[in-house]
Amino acid sequence: MTTVEQQGTSLWQDAWIKLSKNYLALFGLVIIGLLCVLSVLTPWIAPYGYEEQNLLLGATSPSSEHWLGTDVFGRDMLTRIMYGGRVSLTVGFIATAVALLIGVLWGAVAGYVGGRLDAMMMRIVDIMYALPFMIFIVLLMVVFGRNILLLFIAIGAVEWLTMARIVRGQVMSLRKQEFVEAAHSLGLSQWTIIRRHIIPNTLGPVIVYTTLTIPSVMLLEAFLSFLGLGIQPPQSSWGLLINYGVETMEEYPWLLIFPGVTLSLTLFALNFLGDGLRDALDPRVSKD
């Protein structure tokens, strides 16, 4: 007797199916993907050079030559936004990656080892929570200049705390799950258990939180830009472009509208994607 072997669908596949039914989240995914590709390709596909200015031209509204208009230097806005996107997305992704790395490790170790070490590590997190980080970031930026690397570290240092808490909570509850106990009773080594049974099951919330951290990091960068502490010109970021745009929004509205729309779209997309992922990865939300 032969039975046809049925291919099962994993929770990931399940999540994907759920996600693909959520049009908003899918839209978010597409936008993010598109933006990432554009950013990578910017140096080759940008219509103009980055610092190419035309002082005589000045600020012009959108035209067939400059699709999104030009800024007061006569620089092409489309090009500026594309390059700004590279910076903004890099800040978003790298700072989040820093937060992710520290947060996941810290939380996983604290949650899995438990006991005194856990208490100590979490106390440190509590203490860090009470530090006025916004103030420190401002101070750091003032003191050490507008260093993009420092920006990553500073933002990453703020955001990892929540990540660590989330991961710790996950690991703690996983540690008590019967399947982990079953793995113990099979005699699997600690490392095998962490690798095969714990980490794959913490990924859901971590991914969700990551997609929600990226927009908040990008906003933080924009906020620093407003204080004149963000990215250093001539590099630019969406935050910086918006900040310039705000100042001239009555005279040259397109300088605000286009970067504003781009940033908002990105933040929307990331939020939609994050929400969608949260629903998709939540086993309590059924497929239907």
């Binding site: 200015q53 005589l56 003032v142 001539p234 705000v246 100042e247 009555e250 005279e251």
Partner: protein, 555 residues
């Protein structure tokens, strides 16, 4: 558990709150209309003043307020800036131009009613020369005989300094050299008198930062007296009834606002919250010009925007290189397309027209010659020219100019320029220790005289900072200029020195500043001048009878 029962109520309150918040807002008359009626001038002042002590303060916002609260021996005509009687009713100058004798008004009073006399000046100026006070403008006194020596401690007896009260209302000042601009200095707040009783009430004479300048404590001798100082919010001054000319003061009150953000300030002006702004965002200027908005006021300002060149950097030691750089800056393009505020391209260091002084210059925009000069210096077509850094303090407009110049030099000389911005304090540090190659800088005149600009570049000048040192220049400015007899001779000496400076080019002048602000039509008798100095005692407010001329025209 009674609180449970109240929760629904609380909840409905929650829903009501936004409505309440919105209904709380009321319209009402704006500042300007109200001010026009009751004689209150609303003045956008840039930033919160650090101090209102005339011997400690530096900076324009402080200047604006102190000149309302105090008056010097001599005042200036608000249009021509010619010296006119202030606290001193009249004065005489000795033949050799070294001894000034001032006759003080006998009806001058401090704002608390105390008599105001020559001894106040002796004491005040003694105070201003105490090093512990940290007076950054002490050098304004240095034309007075022995003042510098006293300040630096080589003389300890103040009696040897050329300041004497001959009687209660006669003050005699002896200068070390005839100084034609001395009368002007007397209108600078660093030479204003302070009220001894008040200063000593709140601390010792040379104690920095006592509370004597605070709301309720301050005593001055100007047209207005301090009535309120709300930190970072506003400073209010009121008509001073003891002012000798109080009858002719047109305003009842002036409110100074620390309007730090130029964009917000401009919006405040448009919303009728200010009579006058301290600046106008450069991106807004074109639209004001286009609509011929009469509120916009642009006038020349005694200040030069320039680049310092660090002459100790090997490849910048060459005069030829510096000249090549100076010749390839298209100043017209910068002022027209970037700054847009009527700034004047500068081809010499001293702003033209300073006390009738028009410096000659052989600077111009001439890329052709520049390329030749650069080749002469050994960098044919920019070859092997080291990448050079322009340092500027973090600011959008400095950046714009730096970017433009970077491109001009690249385009015409084919040399690579890097931009480096530093935050203000860091930039100051770098510049003062000579840790830069080319650095953006500016100099705003304290008094209207070429000397104020040209003595910067003496070998040991604290503001030189370029490493440039020229014996002939030092001789001309330091030794000849103070001793020449006539104004014309003097200007000629300055002309020679300036020519030398523009030949050597340790600094590359870029443009002469303009003061740009928005002024409400109701502000009368407020002419513009090269120092951008307001004479508040003369200003008055008169609302235009027809508020909307456009609609009037349509009829």
């Amino acid at each position: 558990m009674k609180n449970c029962a109240r929760l629904p109520l609380l909840f409905s309150l929650f829903l009501l709150m936004p409505t309440l918040l919105l209904s709380a807002c009321g319209g009402g008359e704006n500042n300007v209309d109200q001010g026009n009626r009751d004689g209150t001038l609303h003045w956008g002042n840039g930033t919160e003043p650090q101090s209102l002590d005339p011997h400690i303060a530096t900076g324009v916002p402080e200047h604006n307020i102190i000149t309302a609260l105090m008056e010097g021996l001599v005042a200036k005509d608000s249009k021509t800036l010619a010296p006119k009687a202030g606290v001193a009713e009249y004065w005489t100058i000795s033949e050799d131009g070294r001894v000034y004798t001032f006759k003080l008004r006998e009806n001058a009073r401090w704002s608390n009613g105390d008599p105001h006399n020559a001894h106040d000046y002796v004491w005040s100026w003694w105070r201003a020369l105490q090093p512990a006070l940290g007076n950054l403008y002490a050098y304004m006194y240095f034309s007075i005989d022995n003042a510098k020596e006293y300040y630096e401690g080589t003389i300890t007896d103040f009696d040897q300094v050329g300041i004497k009260a001959l009687d209660d209302f006669t003050l005699q000042v002896t200068l070390s050299n005839p100084t034609p601009y001395f009368l002007q200095l007397l209108d600078h707040y660093s030479l204003y008198p302070v009220h001894r009783g008040t200063v000593e009430k709140f601390g010792t004479a040379d104690e920095r930062g006592t509370r004597w300048t605070y709301e309720g404590n301050h005593v001055g001798n100007g047209a207005f007296q301090l009535s309120a100082w709300k930190i970072n919010r506003r400073i209010t001054v009121q008509r001073n009834p003891f002012y000798w000319n109080a009858d002719h003061v047109g305003l009842n009150q002036i409110v100074f606002y620390p309007t730090e953000n130029a964009v917000s300030e401009e919006r405040m002006f448009r919303a009728g919250q200010l009579h006058r702004t301290s600046s106008v965002p450069s991106d807004k200027i074109p639209s004001y010009l286009e609509t011929q908005n009469s509120s916009l006021r642009i006038s020349p300002y005694l200040g030069t925007y320039f680049y310092r060149i660090n002459t100790s950097v090997p490849h910048l030691q060459s005069k030829l290189v510096r000249r090549a750089l100076a010749l390839t800056i298209d100043r017209e393009a910068i002022t027209k397309n970037i700054l847009k505020g009527g700034q004047i391209p500068a081809y010499a260091f001293t702003p033209p027209g300073t006390m009738g002084y028009y410096p000659e210059s052989n600077l111009r925009f001439d890329p052709e010659t520049a390329r030749q000069l650069l080749a002469e210096a050994g960098y044919l077509n920019g070859k092997d020219f080291p990448t050079t850094e322009i340092l500027y303090n973090t600011n959008e407009s400095h950046r714009k100019i730096a970017v433009a110049i970077q491109q001009m030099w690249k385009k015409h000389l084919n040399i690579d320029i890097k931009l480096l911005n530093q935050e203000w304090k860091v930039y100051l540090d770098s510049e003062s220790i000579g840790n830069y190659e080319i650095s953006r800088a500016a100099w705003i005149g304290d008094y209207v005289d070429p000397n104020n600009f040209l003595d910067m570049f003496l070998c040991n000048g604290g503001n030189n900072r370029t490493g440039w040192c020229n014996a002939e220049y030092d001789y001309l400015i330091g030794d000849i200029a103070p001793t020449v007899k006539t104004h014309a001779e003097r200007l000629a000496v300055f002309g020679r020195a300036e020519k030398l400076l523009m030949d050597e080019l340790p600094v590359i002048p870029i443009y002469t500043y303009t003061s740009i602000s928005l002024v409400n039509q109701a502000v009368k008798n407020y002419p513009s001048n090269i120092l951008n100095k307001a004479n508040y005692s003369e200003i008055y407010l008169q609302a235009e009878p027809q508020q909307m001329p456009l609609t009037e025209d349509q009829y």
